[in-house]
């Protein structure tokens, strides 16, 4: 039995058929309603106004019935509006721009590695090969204490880095939004690997003298997808507390986590993780609607921790010499792919247009009932979103997602360029990517953005935003001085 969709998709005729099909299915309600409305209006016109009045009088409606019906209508309307979830607006966000004194070019990183690992030439070779293929550029930044040979991470320098990153981002956010520190009702800080006492959120409260009845949370240990977990938490809190502002700070502090041993599986994060941070202001106040940049539409969280292999694939442990590092297993990409599939399965029905869902349903039924050999239909997410922000976890992650979701080069450009300019900044990378798209002037009102993040656990979280107003360039942000140089071509292997 022939499959529903023939394989020669390069045919032009087929393209028109596809377009026609999509239009038909996506607007099916409109297309069925219009003939009905036309029919009714023709009927009404034919009847004439006198006939209509006679029809109305023959119904014998008395006052009680009219009042009850109108109360019913009002009651239903009230219940509907009350139970509607509050709209969450993203008013604005600010990303941390590292100072030039933190810059680490390739050559410097390699030299430092050679000097620190001089007893292990194999490990040095390995790091060299990773760096060549990593997709990072020459302007990524590491904190000052990591510039030493060997690095000298102390608690004090870790706090110093946290203060530098978080306070810069917050100052920038206050400037952009005009938010007063006293007006922050909810504060959520997420930083996976550095968790001092008092917490980083307490550090922020202390610095800016926030209110004593603030609802503050500090999420640690949740990996690179913690940014979206924080957004989800903020959303839930903003449903409960009316008329509130929430500030979410996403960052990763590199200083205490630089691996100083020579186990290969643990050297990879050293090559990829870089300094970065972002501060985001969310609100449910209707007054913010006019100036908010985005509206939060969906957040979908998927956790594969129930599977042992997924749980162990990103694992912090001590190596043979007792040095602590994060070990990445070889099946990381496969597990990421699985997690993504899970996430898409939940996300798909929420965002995909009816045409894609129908096709997917038909193929699914077909595979189950008729012939399991049919190729599974991968829904075309490009129809659901205009922009994609894929966590810049590494070149392999972006390549894998580009393949799985069948995205074009332009769709993943923001992710690749963020990886090149800033490296893997963990939970804040999604915000750098969003800023890239805005800086390029591609964000228009009504555009939908999909942010996907992966994290240890293994988690795949995604958020969908809808652009509330067109964003005009030039915008102030970490890309201001270099956006004109991008996009750059990133070679497969960089010659060191």
């Amino acid at each position: 039995m022939p499959p529903i969709l023939p394989d020669f998709s390069s045919s032009v005729k087929l393209k028109y058929v596809k377009l026609g099909y999509q239009y038909l299915v996506n607007h099916i309600i409109t297309l069925t309603l219009i003939p009905i409305m036309i029919g009714v209006s023709i009927e009404l016109i034919r009847l004439g106004p006198n006939e209509i009045l006679n029809l109305w009088n023959s119904l014998n409606l008395n006052l009680v019935q009219i009042l009850c019906s109108s109360f019913l209508v009002i009651f239903i309307a009230t219940v509907y509006f009350m139970s509607k979830p509050r709209t969450i607006y993203l008013v604005d966000y600010a990303c941390f721009k590292p100072p030039v004194t933190c810059r680490v070019p390739f050559a410097t990183f390699m030299e430092h590695s050679r000097l620190i690992l001089k007893n292990n030439p194999k490990s040095v070779e390995f790091q060299m090969r990773i760096l060549e293929r990593s997709g990072l550029g020459e302007e990524t930044c590491l904190p000052p204490s990591i510039h030493y040979i060997p690095p000298k991470p102390t608690m004090e320098s870790a706090r110093g880095e946290a203060e530098l990153v978080i306070f810069s981002a917050m100052d920038s956010l206050f400037e952009k939004t005009g938010l007063k520190p006293k007006d922050i009702d909810i504060l959520i800080v997420n930083c996976s690997l550095f968790s001092p006492t008092p917490s980083l959120s307490a550090m922020v409260i202390n610095k800016y003298k926030l209110r004593s009845n603030i609802r503050s949370f500090n999420l640690s240990g949740m990996g690179c997808s913690a940014g979206l977990i924080s957004i989800d938490l903020a959303r839930d809190l903003l449903q409960v507390h009316p008329n509130s502002n929430a500030v979410v700070v996403s960052t990763e502090i590199i200083t205490p986590n630089y691996y100083q041993g020579n186990e290969r599986a643990m050297l990879l994060p050293n090559c990829l993780f870089r300094m970065g941070g972002a501060a985001i202001m969310l609100s449910n106040r209707t007054t913010e609607k006019r100036r908010a940049k985005y509206r939060l539409v969906h957040v979908v969280r998927t956790h594969k921790g129930g599977d042992d292999k997924a749980y162990k694939c990103v694992f912090e442990e001590e190596d043979k010499e007792g040095k602590v590092g994060i070990s990445l297993q070889k099946d990381l990409m496969a597990i990421a792919g699985e997690a993504l599939k899970s996430n898409i399965t939940t996300m798909g029905p929420l965002v995909l247009p009816a045409s894609e869902q129908l096709l997917f349903l038909i193929t699914l039924i077909g595979r189950k009932i008729f012939n399991p050999k049919w190729k599974p239909y991968i829904p075309d997410f490009k129809q659901a979103f205009e922009h994609f922000c894929i966590h810049a976890g590494g070149r392999a992650v972006i390549d894998e997602l580009q393949k799985n979701l069948q995205l074009s080069t332009e769709h993943v450009e923001a992710s690749r360029m963020t990886l090149h300019r800033f490296g893997n900044t963990s939970s804040s990378s999604l915000w750098y990517e969003l800023n890239y798209i805005e800086s390029k002037g591609r964000m228009k009102k009504g555009d939908r953005v999909w942010q996907i993040a992966f994290g240890s656990g293994f988690k795949c979280n995604s958020a969908v935003w809808k652009c509330n107003r067109s964003i005009k360039t030039p915008i102030d942000g970490p890309w201001t001085d270099c956006i004109d140089r991008y996009p750059v071509h990133i070679p497969e292997i960089v010659k060191l």
């Binding site: 030039v100 810059r103 410097t108 390699m110 030493y148 040979i149």
Partner: protein, 480 residues
């Protein structure tokens, strides 16, 4: 001086980090070609120190000191690069932003205690730096900041001669001090004007003798020498210079701050070394000066040395100083053309040493080492020496610190095989323990006045005694 750096255990505990240019180079600027003079000097290293007292430093932290270098290195693109060897075997510099190494260390002594113990020695205040064994990963410049207990600071620069001569090294530190003071670093540096060598008839085109083929130690860019070469710095005050001038030459010359003492100091040292070496006294010496007029600060680092030879039949140990001065002033033969020819014939692949191939006298009098200022204050001491020199010896003449009259003396840094250096020290008999200039400056601040200055001359010695209200110091220099 021909020994390898001790890489296993550093002598002082220093924290090492790297400073890189603030903006990336880009692919099009990646290779910097080295000319013949750069390649000639590749086995030498220039080391200079600048000592500042606590009044100048005023609690500057290490990050304050490192920060200006990021902006500065944007204009000095090849200084942060690394040496690569091209397919033809000729070295060049790849501008890959690998950066300049910085070492920070803390000293338990005060600046005065240090100077009393180590005098003018450069040794522990600069990092022991040579290129190799991995040339591709060896930094070309190493800056060491040493913080003293009293709040003083030493800035020690170790600069690979392949990048540029001592004037270029000094320019680098001067520009750094300007950027530290808040001036914007230059957008780009201009190539200096090389004045054409004037006396073409005095040029040597073939078989230059000022250089010698060298064998390197293992994979390092450092030449092996037959004997251990040590360095010592002698400080000649302006009064002593005046005496030297009037007693050694027959003419009465007006002394002003612009007077060049290089020739007369070189002649004196040449004579002394001639006496030490006896019949093997150096009849052939090399003179190294610069051929670029007015070494401005915004110039690109370059090796602008003029290497000239002097050949004489006279025995230097028995000649008069004035005869030697005349030889130096008039009879030197420029070998640059010959050197260029020899280098290019070897396609830049050969290893040579220049300083110390023959007894070499280097004129750094014009080098304004005291122009490096921190918080508007000049250094209390600046000195310079060379590493990796040959065993025929090197004599560097630099201007000295200002004394209370505003006159500069001269610092003479001499590198010779150990035994010869000891003999020279005895011959020159400078009193090394008390430094009159330093003491006078402080005594002036205390309000002491000089009560008497006596100068006594005998046929063999000249003694200068200066007395203040508290103490008298005598310096004697002996001429035989």
């Amino acid at each position: 001086m021909g020994s390898l750096p001790n890489l296993e255990t550093p002598p002082q505990i220093s924290r090492i980090s790297t400073v890189v240019p603030a903006t990336p180079r880009g692919e099009e600027n990646s290779a910097y070609n080295l000319n013949y003079m750069d390649l000639l000097m590749k086995l030498h290293y220039i080391r200079s120190i600048y000592l500042f007292n606590s009044k100048a430093v005023q609690n500057l932290s290490i990050s304050d000191l490192k920060a200006p270098m990021f902006q500065l290195l944007d204009s000095y693109s090849h200084v942060s690069g690394r040496v690569r060897i091209s397919e033809s075997g000729r070295p060049f510099i790849k501008c890959n932003d690998a950066g300049v190494r910085i070492a920070e260390s803390h000293c338990e002594k005060t600046l005065r205690e240090w100077l009393d113990e180590k005098e003018y020695s450069v040794d522990e205040l600069v990092y022991d730096h040579v290129l190799g064994p991995d040339l591709a990963f060896s930094p070309l410049v190493f800056v060491k900041f040493t913080f003293f207990k009293c709040g003083g600071l030493s800035v020690g620069l170790s600069w690979a001669h392949i990048l540029g001569d001592a004037f270029s090294a000094r320019n680098f530190i001067t520009k750094w001090s300007h950027t530290l003071a808040g001036q914007a670093p230059p957008k780009s540096l201009h190539m200096p004007n090389l004045t054409k060598p004037q006396f073409l008839s005095n040029s040597v085109y073939d078989n230059p003798i000022s250089i010698k083929r060298a064998t390197t130690i293992e994979e390092y860019w450092l030449a092996a020498t037959d004997s251990y070469v040590a360095t010592h710095t002698f400080h000649i005050t302006s009064k002593q210079l005046h005496h030297l001038l009037t007693t050694s030459t027959s003419t009465n010359i007006n002394i002003n701050t612009k007077t060049k003492y290089f020739e007369i100091i070189s002649a004196m040292i040449w004579k002394c070394i001639g006496q030490i070496r006896g019949n093997f006294g150096p009849r052939v010496v090399t003179i190294c000066t610069t051929n670029i007029s007015n070494r401005a600060e915004n110039e690109f680092p370059t090796n602008g040395s003029v290497l000239s030879k002097i050949e004489t039949s006279l025995s230097p140990g028995e000649s008069e100083i004035s005869e030697l001065v005349k030889l130096i002033a008039e009879k030197k033969m420029n070998e640059n053309h010959g050197l260029e020819k020899m280098m290019e014939e070897g396609e830049g692949k050969d290893d040579f040493i220049v300083y110390g191939a023959k007894l070499t006298f280097v004129d750094l009098e014009e080098g304004n080492f005291y122009g490096v200022k921190i918080n508007g204050q000049k250094p209390i001491l600046a000195n310079c020496d060379f590493r990796g020199v040959g065993d025929q010896g090197v004599v560097l003449v630099l201007s000295g610190p200002e004394d209370y009259n505003g006159n500069n003396g001269r610092m003479v840094t001499i590198s010779l095989p150990g035994k010869e250096l000891d003999q020279l020290k005895c011959k020159l008999s400078f009193s090394c323990k008390l430094q009159p200039w330093n003491f006078l400056r402080e005594s002036e601040q205390r309000g002491d006045t000089t009560t008497a200055t006596t100068i006594t001359t005998t046929s063999t010695t000249v003694s200068v005694t200066m007395a203040t209200t508290n103490i008298a110091t005598t310096t004697t220099f002996v001429l035989r």
